[in-house]
Symmetry: none
DNA sequence: TGGGTACATATGGGATACCATGGGAAATCA
DNA sequence: TGATTTCCCATGGTATCCCATATGTACCCA
């Protein structure tokens, strides 16, 4: 019901593992997905993660294209070929893969950010910067002024 | 449940064998297909591979043509005559055939790419190039802009 | 209200299982 | 019978499982 909310920062151990925040684990458990579904965010240096709800959202995008067509293949490679399915161990931890490390710049700490139907995996400092920027944009939008695009697409 | 997701690169041994990634093997086992179904991709230098789910998708496409018609025969030759059924040995390996080598340019390494209902077999460097391109096309397609065909026609 | 106990979570580390890979030997084919 | 394929086993590295500990928090009882 609640979805992923709030954010948490945890330490990466020597084996490259990190605890997924307990509240997020609870959401995942209710969602019923085996493990975790992870895909690079196309517009910021974070990785989107979630379960069936996120997967359904992603699958919806490719439904309009005919399978075996060049368009569908390209889309499927971008969506599924470039994503990962990390397992979650008995203690609620996941391992941060090469792909995630490369795309996020994570070294020894990980910030988990809830976005309701999914959550994001960030390098803590990069998240702080992005978050500050997002605040400004949100304020500008709410005050009715013209948005300040600055970077990519909206979240 | 998950289908073929993510991508993996494995080494080809002296006998021309390569390990099929364990997660893909698990999907194939669930699918129940004996061995592997392989067919050249019509629009890129990769080979499509999978089990019953892929086969069903291909058959669906040929249903649009009347059996015994020249069109159907031509299609049947293209789809089934040009395909192969490599076995999977006890250790989860397949041998890369002459056909696959020719069509993909594979020499000593193989990249397996999950596309949900099937996976593709690529020469690693070619995959990197194609994937970067696919990423751009996907963004264009999903943002509702005109797609960038760049290459060929649909199957 | 204060003290203490039980539980949950994050984290560390040893042991084990899995997996990709290499290579020998038997079997198959032409 | 020579070449190729299939089966089987060995090995090293990695990921997974399992248990231990610390820190905190909620709860309970006097």
């Amino acid at each position: 019901m609640a979805g992923f909310v709030s954010h948490f920062t945890n330490r990466l151990d020597a084996k490259g593992r990190v605890s997924i925040p307990a509240p997020f684990r609870a959401v995942l458990a209710r969602d019923g997905f085996e493990g975790l579904y992870c895909i690079k965010s196309s517009h910021c240096s974070a990785v989107d993660a979630g379960g069936n709800e996120l997967l359904a959202e992603i699958e919806k995008r490719s439904e309009n294209f005919i399978k075996l067509s060049p368009d569908h293949d390209a889309l499927a490679i971008a969506l599924f070929g470039e994503s990962e399915n990390p397992k979650i161990d008995g203690d609620g931890r996941m391992t941060i893969s090469e792909m995630i490390r490369d795309h996020t710049g994570i070294t020894d700490q990980v910030t988990f950010v809830g976005l309701k139907y999914k959550f994001q995996i960030w390098e803590p400092e990069k998240f702080r910067e992005y978050s500050a920027e997002a605040q400004k944009r949100a304020l500008a939008m709410l005050s009715g002024q013209a948005p300040a695009p600055s970077q990519g697409e909206p979240v």
